[in-house]
Amino acid sequence: MVAIPSRHKSLFLLIGVVVLQILFLAIQIRRDSQGRLIRVWTVGAVTPFERVGASGVGGIRGVWNHYFALQNAARDNERLTRENADLKLQLNELQNKADEADRLAKLLDFRQNHKTVPMLAARVIAASADSATQTLYLDRGEHDGIRRNMGVITPDGVVGKISETYPNTSQVLLLTDRDSGVGAMLVESHIQSPVGGAGEPLLSMKYVANDDTVAIGEHVVTSGMDRIFPRDLPVGTVAQIKDGNPFKQIRLKPAANLESLEDVIVLLSVQPLDLTKSENKDTKNSGAPIAEAKPVAEAKKEPQSKSKTAKP
């Protein structure tokens, strides 16, 4: 047996530990990414503190904002009064338009249909421990009926999907993560293409041919083709367009404010969506799940409805 000189012991230890971790890494890469026990243990041990921390920080911020940080209150009040007046004018204009009245009526139908959809409100309690991945932890988990691949939204739009679940906690992969993706569609042209993250605030829309016409500011909604999100949920707005080879390079501003999420809604359904049924469904059917509800935007465009799928 060859004795290891004591001055080299730490170097051998370093090599041993790194090799072990590399082997461990290799084992994980081969496996399907099911929940790992060490993650379950660590998340289970840390999240109680995150809950307390989230409540504590929220409380401190509340006290600070309501009792101390009032130096801008008068200015904010003036600004809000002006904004309120502008909004009232806009509201009056909208109410005078007949087609807007029609849109509001359909919106009401849509919202009524949403009432029957199994949804769960959840609070964001922590973020990813590294800056390379875009994930959040919610205060609801398997015990609340949350499962992997369920969609997560806010009233503003799509947030992401559940990537891991734990007994009382779950992890959301945000739309901005570079491994994230959602089936999407441009509202005006009905061009369908996946939208994914790029690890930065803007999203990326792939596979839109250079010949297709896309305008800055055009809205992008879910297409329902990913079988996670129902159709017509807002995804984002076109912010940048460049010609690429062979597809356009389109960047989107997310509809939901993904940088300051506090409360989200989890769609408690991973059932495949019946799109055919959705197309023909009576919007007044109150028992319809969200995926089958006839969306407002779709209903509005029905006479010119045609769908064009981009070729990847």
Binding site: L13, F24, L25, D130, T133, D177
Partner: protein, 176 residues
């Protein structure tokens, strides 16, 4: 037992510091907790890598490569466990193991108490850490990552500045 003793490397006298009982464990838990809790309210905080700063600090102070690399491994694996699903367990573990070893080895040879030395070492270790992470991603995970971005440069500077002050704070945990 002496809590602080000296390594004699030629003519240089370098102190090896010990810390109050449980302070390393508590500091690690607090760092990992803050790393996950604060970005929820202040997303820019994610630019900081508190677990890395702790690995560097305790490595430089303890000056024992074996304990340095084991502490780095533990902190790295904790960070892996709380990261996103695309981060396999071991990615940050490997990087911080090596940083823990390097910091301890350098700490045993140089006087690293001066703020300028700490600033420079933190910038270097941040770069090495990111290099190891990117290398691991490229070689083992087949994830193409750019070697250098402005985000990384800003991250190195911010971490080094915060590190200088954090290290002064952590100095208070030392036994006199």
């Amino acid at each position: 037992m002496n809590d602080t003793y000296e390594l004699r490397m030629g003519e240089a006298h370098i102190e090896v510091h010990k810390f109050r009982g449980g302070s390393i464990v508590m500091a690690t838990i607090i760092a990992v907790f803050l790393q996950t809790a604060i970005p929820v309210h202040f997303p820019k905080f994610a630019l900081l890598d508190l677990p890395l700063l702790l690995t560097i600090y305790f490595g430089l102070s303890r000056r024992n490569p074996s304990t340095g690399l084991l502490l780095g491994m533990t902190i790295g694996l904790l960070q892996d466990s709380l990261s996103g699903p695309t981060v396999p367990i071991g990615l940050y573990g490997i990087a911080k193991t090596i940083i823990g070893y390097l910091a301890s080895s350098i700490g045993a040879r140089l006087d690293t108490e001066h703020p300028i030395a700490r600033f420079a070492l933190t910038v270097i270790f941040f770069g090495v850490h990111q290099g190891i992470v990117i290398l691991t991603r490229r070689l083992l995970l087949a994830q193409p990552e750019p070697w250098f971005t402005m985000h990384l440069a800003i991250g190195a500077a911010v971490n080094a500045i915060v590190g200088v002050f954090l290290f002064m704070l952590l100095d208070r945990l030392r036994k006199n």
